[in-house]
């Protein structure tokens, strides 16, 4: 994979070849119209039986007017989405170093297993005696999660990380209300300024007020500032560990003691659990709850943005507030508790989604855990951390690490090395695309200027890391030596050049509209505003 350097050198000397032919295609890079522009009225890609004549029972609400869906045959649909797929970068095609997002290999065994008819054809409301295997799988997955985190309970139903945060913060709110005799007066939730945006957003929808804790010079929670925030109005602290700078919060135990001393709870954002799984149990750090993004740590596919799954492990003090439903086992049969039964020792916060959780993700997670075993999981987190440090070590002479010392599973740089070059973090990222790479996470965490957060994960080979390092070094040198033009116009070899995001937001076009023609060119007048 030493492809890119020579290519881009030659492109500087010669104009970039663009096919000016009629089709818009450029070799394998196919243009593809919208589904709605490929419409042939009446066509369908599904052959369904003819419905005999019968009297409908729709009453007064039958839908008689045209819906406007396009008609295509199966080969046309296959070609359409195959062409679209080829416009995507993916973990299957290259390293995807998006820090904090954890793009690692998705084992295909897991895809096979989730499609077994005994799972895929299972209805959530079948009698539980016909779903014993599914309940057992949920219970086994839960048990692994409890052992790996050292926590006594887990709520399985949250649909994603942010949904898990909601579950945990609701449990904290319910526990505080109960302890304070109905309605707690504790309203403050402390969130580090480096936190994921979901943390403050979640605390806010649980009725809390957010106070920000600053970071210290080493990228970790400023413990002195944290102490000053302590008081009997503090409900909880939400801390990501390892944090979004890719660093382990070394004062974590003191933080946990401090928050517990004032009667608050410790919410841990487990987005980065993949860095420590099999090596550190969050339960030993004194946390009260933590969501686990199954799509990160246990590699269920991200699929262009979802679905996720966000089970939440809970301490003994929060366990009684776990949401409905949950699985129980009486040594013979598995059951589902779907309603509050009174009198009880449990005070569920309610129901979080329609059914029992992201079952398809549990199956993949369980297969991933069984495949790795405890040895493989520890090896995976070790390799993830080693890979990140290897990248950091190989780039730190040219680029500017945001903080000193070894990192965990991701390494963070600021844009100090670009100062005076006229090249921004955005330009640098876009130039990476021309080198054949998905950029790292840019401009996050917010506490670092022009942040570049690189997370290679454990599923990259050394060769892949070395190629990546060589390309980044080449780009860093180009920027520092003043080759600004290389960056400003990039990316050049992609299905689209830089896209105008301001324009998209100023007059949003969020759907195809048959009445007003869709603009194919830069023609303001033809652009509709819906």
């Amino acid at each position: 994979m030493t492809h890119s350097r020579d290519l881009s050198k030659s492109s500087k000397e010669q104009p970039i070849p663009v096919n000016s032919g009629q089709s818009g295609h450029q070799g394998l890079n196919m243009e593809e119209a919208l589904l709605f522009e490929l419409d042939s009225k009446g066509k369908s890609g599904v052959d369904l039986p003819t419905v005999p004549k019968f009297e409908n029972r729709l009453g007064s609400v039958s839908r008689d007017s045209n819906i406007g869906l396009p008609g295509l045959s199966e080969p046309e649909v296959i070609r359409h989405y195959t062409r679209l797929s080829q416009k995507n970068y993916a973990i299957d095609t290259g390293i995807y170093p998006l820090g904090s997002c954890t793009m690692k290999h998705n084992p295909r065994l897991n895809e096979k297993l989730v499609r077994l008819s005994g799972f895929s054809g299972l209805h959530p409301l079948q009698p539980v005696e016909t779903t014993q295997g599914a309940l057992e799988l949920i219970d086994k997955t839960a048990s692994w999660l409890k052992i790996l985190t050292g926590m006594p309970a887990v709520a399985m139903s949250p649909a994603a990380g942010a949904h898990g945060e909601f579950c945990g913060m609701m449990a904290i709110r319910a526990a505080l209300d109960q302890r304070d005799g109905g309605k707690t007066s504790r309203r403050r939730v402390l969130v580090p300024e480096s936190a994921h945006g979901t943390n403050p957003a979640t605390a806010s929808i649980c009725g809390f007020i957010i106070d920000t804790i600053p970071a210290n010079d080493s990228g970790r929670v400023d413990i002195e500032a944290f102490k000053k925030q302590m008081g009997d109005d503090v409900a909880a602290v939400m801390i990501t560990n390892p944090n979004t700078c890719g660093l382990f919060e070394s004062d974590i135990i003191e933080i946990s003691e401090l928050i517990h001393e004032v009667g608050g709870f410790f919410y841990c954002d487990g987005a980065n659990f993949n860095a420590i799984v099999g090596r550190v149990r969050p339960g030993d750090l004194g946390i009260d709850c933590m969501h686990i993004n199954l799509h990160k740590t246990f590699s269920t596919p991200h699929g262009g943005g979802g679905p996720g799954a966000g089970p939440v492990v809970l301490s003994a003090s929060l366990a009684p507030f776990a949401p409905l439903p949950w699985v129980t086992f009486d040594d013979q049969n598995y059951s589902l508790v779907e309603h509050e039964i009174k009198p009880t020792e449990k005070f569920p916060i309610g129901r979080l989604k329609a059914f029992h959780g992201q079952m398809g993700m549990f199956i993949r997670t369980y297969a991933y855990m069984l495949s790795h075993g405890k040895d493989g999981l520890a090896q995976a987190s070790g390799d993830a951390v080693l890979n990140a440090n290897y990248i950091m070590e190989n780039l730190k002479d040219l680029m500017t690490p945001a903080f000193e010392g070894p990192c965990m599973h991701e390494c963070l740089f600021d844009d100090g090395f670009l100062r005076g070059t006229g090249v921004t973090t955005l330009d640098f990222s876009k130039a990476m695309i021309d080198e054949g790479y998905h950029p790292m996470t840019m401009y996050f965490p917010l506490i670092v200027h022009g942040a570049m957060l690189i997370e290679p994960t454990e599923t990259e080979s050394k060769r892949s890391l070395d190629d990546f390092i060589n390309s980044i070094r080449y780009l860093a040198k180009s920027a520092i030596s003043g080759k600004k033009e290389k960056f400003i116009g990039s990316p050049k070899f992609t299905p689209r050049r830089r896209l105008d995001e301001t324009r998209a937001a100023r007059s949003p076009i969020l759907r195809w509209n048959s009445v007003k023609a869709q603009s194919n060119e830069s023609d303001e007048a033809k652009t509709n505003n819906l």
């Binding site: 839908r63 989405y81 895929s120 679905p307 309610g350 995976a380 876009k430």
Partner: protein, 447 residues
């Protein structure tokens, strides 16, 4: 371990470069006391064949709706998924890509989301839709929160025909936000009239069509009453195939439409992952939760797509965001999109007709059984019937005869005695007349 590419030699060499002697020393920031001191009580790694056997044996302990006659519905439906759908969503470029934050190398996902938003807008009869939510129930709770942002009122009316789980999820999500929820009584007979509850203090009314008990209704008049009082009408659709046969909520005057999209492209999978649909009027666009994909131009003037209006979202607005949602249901939305693309206008309509036809057949068969009352006159693909005894017992008995007869209402609403004998029975295009006869005969046998 087959998923880990580093060799021991690689590790050794890389540690040398980093200047450390062992991988463990990379964890020096972790307080000593927090480092794992004893072995976890978990097994070591396993080969693919062994893992496959273990999980296959668990699957084997379940009764799949693919193998026995099934009449289960209540918010999740077994439909036939064309082979092309599952093939396409497993293309690595879709399956293993992330949220399209870098639009130049994510045009595939973005164009698909734009198509998805258009499809959702068309079938719901609305102007704009977002790029998907977790499921129908969480979409419903998000719609209630959005209505409050728009109306700045705190009272919410939930129809007695709303799916009980949607109601429960909405109650959970609004628990600590000073929202007053008015729960209408269960609408078993489909005769509910919510207009008398509407006042200028109400933020929104949430209705469902067909409702939880299967009744189809026209909400046009209710919409007018809502709008006269500055109240938003939120319409829930838990069986999205119905939109191929039933007047859209948009046509009835709804302001926000939320739906469960599972029926298109997504297997039952014991309840998830599914895909929540969320559509509204353009004027409420900036109060929407979730991601939006918008059309724009690139530097050379060619049409392309980007994520847009993200100033509503948590990664920009933090505690002032419209929602805390980050992950959507991308891959499930893709499955939905491809299935609907394959169906097209004519296929979607015929699929809906076929579903309805089978439900009409069921209603007619069951109506002829002594002791069974069909309670739904206007319905789509699901009906309520009253049995002479508790419905859960009937379902259990029929399950032992390998018939999944439907969903006893008491499974979702356990404390209303008058609902104990009510069974929800659903049909889809997968239901055959032979299966309906089988159900009907078995029911006759046991009651």
């Amino acid at each position: 371990m087959r998923y880990l590419p580093l060799t021991d030699n690689d590790r050794h060499e890389m540690l040398g470069k980093v200047g450390l002697s062992s991988v463990d020393s990379l964890f020096s920031d972790v307080p000593e006391i927090a480092r794992l001191s004893s072995e976890l009580e978990l097994p070591d790694h396993k080969g693919e064949f062994e893992v496959e056997k273990i999980i296959e044996s668990l699957a084997g302990k379940n009764v799949s709706t693919a193998d026995v006659p099934s009449f289960l519905g209540a918010g999740a439906y077994r439909h036939h998924i064309p082979a092309a759908v599952d093939y396409l969503i497993q293309r690595g470029e879709f399956l293993t890509s992330y949220t399209p934050y870098q639009p130049e190398i994510s045009q595939g996902t973005l164009q698909m989301l734009f198509e998805f938003q258009t499809q959702v807008s068309l079938i719901t009869g609305m102007e704009v839709a977002n790029a998907s939510m977790y499921d129908g129930a969480t979409s419903c709770s998000e719609a209630v929160l959005m209505a409050r942002r728009i109306t700045r009122r705190d009272k919410v009316i939930l129809s007695g025909g709303l799916h009980p789980h949607y109601r429960a999820v909405t109650e959970t999500h609004t628990k600590y936000l000073d929202i007053e929820i008015i729960d209408a009584p269960s609408d078993l007979n489909g005769l509910e009239d919510l207009s008398k509850l509407i006042s200028q203090e109400v933020s929104c009314v949430v209705v469902q069509n067909p409702n939880f008990f299967g009744h189809l209704k026209d909400f046009s008049k209710l919409a007018k009453t809502c709008h006269a009082n500055g109240v938003l009408l939120i319409a829930v659709v838990s069986e999205v195939i119905s939109l191929g046969a039933v007047l859209s909520p948009g046509d009835m005057g709804a302001d926000i439409v939320v739906a469960e999209g599972q029926s298109l492209g997504n297997p039952l999978s014991y309840g998830g992952p599914y895909v929540g649909l969320f559509a509204t009027r353009e004027k409420y666009l900036r109060q929407m939760p979730g991601r939006l994909c918008g059309q724009t131009l690139d530097e050379t003037g060619r049409r392309g797509w980007v994520l847009t209006l993200s100033t509503r979202e948590q990664h920009i607005r933090r505690e002032k965001a419209t929602s805390n949602i980050c992950t959507n249901a991308g891959l499930c939305a893709l499955a939905f999109c491809i299935h609907l693309a394959l169906l097209g206008e004519s296929g979607f309509r015929r699929l809906a007709e076929l579903n309805h036809y089978r439900a009409v057949q069921i209603a007619d068969y069951l109506n002829n059984i002594n002791g069974v009352d069909v309670l739904t006159n206007c319905f789509f693909n699901e009906i309520s019937i009253r049995l002479p005894g508790p419905a859960d017992e009937v379902v259990s008995k029929l399950a032992s005869r390998n018939i999944l007869a439907g969903v006893p209402v008491s499974r979702l609403i356990p404390n209303e005695n008058e609902l104990n004998n009510i069974l929800l029975v659903a049909a889809t295009e997968c239901t055959s007349e032979a299966e309906i006869e089988k159900l009907s005969k078995a029911l006759k046998d046991i009651i």
